[in-house]
């Protein structure tokens, strides 16, 4: 597994995760995401379009990260277009709560929608 994270905005990051995400590689992803959160990121696009393997350990990290982002007023969106991984999101019931969409563009849009909804709802959240 390889991870690269880029800040695309003050509170937004784009993380590309390629290769295989299992209990062996998961700690690296957790560290990378926590580092972003520590630096004030609360909106995260997780680009899993080049990820070839995912199981409950990876899902756990994504869910945990989404919780932390939401606590900070942000959220996570996942870009994924691979049949075998989509199946894992679907049957684990995490497809909606992780905002799984087909590519990075759609994931950015999804986060913008969410920011919009929240600023309308709560009156005051900043758009990513």
């Amino acid at each position: 597994m390889r991870i690269t994270a880029e800040r695309t905005d003050e509170d937004t990051a784009l993380c590309h995760v390629t290769g295989e995400l299992d209990a062996y590689t998961a700690p690296d992803l957790r560290d990378a995401l926590d580092e972003q959160l520590d630096q004030g990121v609360r909106w995260i696009v997780a680009d899993l379009t080049e990820l070839t393997y995912l199981d409950s350990t990876g899902l756990g990290i994504l869910i945990e990260t989404a919780k932390k982002c939401r606590q900070a007023g942000g959220d996570v969106a996942v870009a994924c277009d691979r049949k075998n991984l989509l199946r894992i999101f679907q049957i684990s019931g995490t497809h909606e709560i992780l905002n799984v969409v087909k590519d990075v563009g759609a994931a950015r849009e999804r986060l913008q929608e969410l920011a919009q909804e929240r600023s309308e709802g709560a009156g005051g959240e900043e758009a990513p």
């Binding site: 295989e20 299992d22 209990a23 062996y24 998961a26 393997y53 995912l54 199981d55 409950s56 350990t57 899902l59 756990g60 049949k83 075998n84 199946r87 894992i88 049957i91 684990s92």
Partner: protein, 144 residues
């Protein structure tokens, strides 16, 4: 484990995350020979990894020395299907208590593992009891 036959592969792995890859690769190899499709093999790889990850996370107390913490896998093929047994000699647990807890809606707290194993295979059997290790038996049938 069941009786060995001429189409059984046995794999003993250290109970460590670095060996999950070996479990998945072995599943691929046997699955290809069993005539499973690439999609079926993808599913079974996750199911096998879930069972192995459970051994790594839950089966062994700290006082068990590393060289005695093993994951025993047995993969066998026959009549368009593949069976994988994942066994450990660890602490064990009460599968019925787990089922009750899940029925009572507590599955939110952890517990994706068995859900995935059930959905990704055609048959899942869990044999475990506190103090006597765990055996998970999964069957995947080739789509016809």
């Amino acid at each position: 484990m069941g009786a060995r036959d001429a189409n059984t592969v046995e794999l003993v792995l250290p109970s460590k995350p670095e060996y999950l890859l070996v479990a998945r690769l072995a599943t691929s190899g046997v699955g290809l020979r069993a005539g499973l499709s690439v999609d079926d093999i993808d599913d079974l790889k996750v199911a096998v990894a879930e069972a192995c990850t459970n051994v790594i996370s839950h089966a062994f107390d700290d006082n068990v020395p590393p060289e005695r913490r093993m994951i025993n896998l047995r993969m066998s093929t026959g009549k368009g299907e593949m069976t994988v047994e994942v066994e450990d000699e660890g602490v064990g647990f009460d599968p019925e208590a787990l089922q009750r807890a899940q029925r009572n809606g507590l599955e939110g707290e952890g517990g994706l593992g068995f859900g995935l194993m059930r959905e990704l295979t055609d048959s899942l059997t869990v044999e475990s009891a506190p103090g006597s290790g765990t055996r998970v038996i999964m069957v995947k049938r080739a789509a016809r």
